[in-house]
Symmetry: C2
Subunit: 189 residues, 2 copies
Amino acid sequence: MGRWQPDSRGRLQEAALALYSEHGFDQTTAAQIAARAGLTERTFFRHFADKREVLFGGSALLQERIVAGVAGAPPTDGPLDAVGGGLAAASDMLGEFRRDLSRQRHAVIVANPELRERELAKLADYAESVATVLRDRGVGEPQASLAADAGMTVFRVAVERWASGTDDRALDAVMRDAMAELRAVAGGC
Amino acid sequence: MGRWQPDSRGRLQEAALALYSEHGFDQTTAAQIAARAGLTERTFFRHFADKREVLFGGSALLQERIVAGVAGAPPTDGPLDAVGGGLAAASDMLGEFRRDLSRQRHAVIVANPELRERELAKLADYAESVATVLRDRGVGEPQASLAADAGMTVFRVAVERWASGTDDRALDAVMRDAMAELRAVAGGC
DNA sequence: ATCCATGATGTCAGTAACTGTCAACGCCTA
DNA sequence: TAGGCGTTGACAGTTACTGACATCATGGAT
């Protein structure tokens, strides 16, 4: 065994979620998280750019999945259909994850404005990369941005209902319903 | 004339926009802004909760206008039509404002991730209050949240195009077009 | 006219988020 | 065995932000 325990990053994420849950985000210092993980404050900030980022460690992977899902949609799909493919991929990934941890994390995030702010920023990142994929598929502007952003709205509303317990079905079902509702609200047919 | 110059808040906003433009958000300290406004750092934080908020002084008023616009839409309007009424009110308000200042402010915000994050949070606030108005109008969930959020997407995309110079028309025209594009993308008719 | 409540500001001390720098240490490879 | 590389610790420093208290003008009450 090495000089240090393995998986510093993972230990910091666990410690942060536990402390944020127990004492609240504001009342938890980076030094406390580091100490609980058996590390120093300096090391915390080497792994995570700031105190919020420690709760979003999986966002890069999720973004890759979403992008891959959109890129893999049939060429005949319209913009929003393609985005739906990305949302399906995201649902699969989150569905594999322990739902109790998702709920705990969600509860921490909704309890703090700074964390809600960061989550919105992550969604905006996803939307921007999805819009890029749509443009690669030949979708123009502003359609690409609108479709990507509307898709992230669907994602946000669905995850909110799923993680808060408002809707107890599997995430992919909640997601499909939300997409259908958006089409109904916006379609005006 | 009193002991102090009038309109401390306005002077702080002007000083901040100028310094953020000239040196960048990160390279500007709250003390520098306060000094330029003839005040102290402590007074800066009495007027604004943090360094970012000084750029969003008008957001409460804008939110009121949007909410009033939605609430004032004809009862026969669908959810997204009602939100369109709010966007029209927002366009009117921003249209009255000096466009060069809007562009300068927009340039500062897009140049900094923390400021973009805050702007997204403001839009989410608008969306939440719009969703509340929609529910008061009898719209259920998740339709209210989806319509409100989709509306803010339209707002964001339109203001981005208007303030960045991508689209040189008046804001209300850009906004109406964006709404129509969203309906076309989402409607699938 | 004087006193006092109120509101805006200044002053100062303090906490904690974050950063730069350098040293220490284990691992891997030549 | 030597040396490069990556991770961590130690430590000093800046700055965002907060709490507590003093100061000074304004306006109303006495």
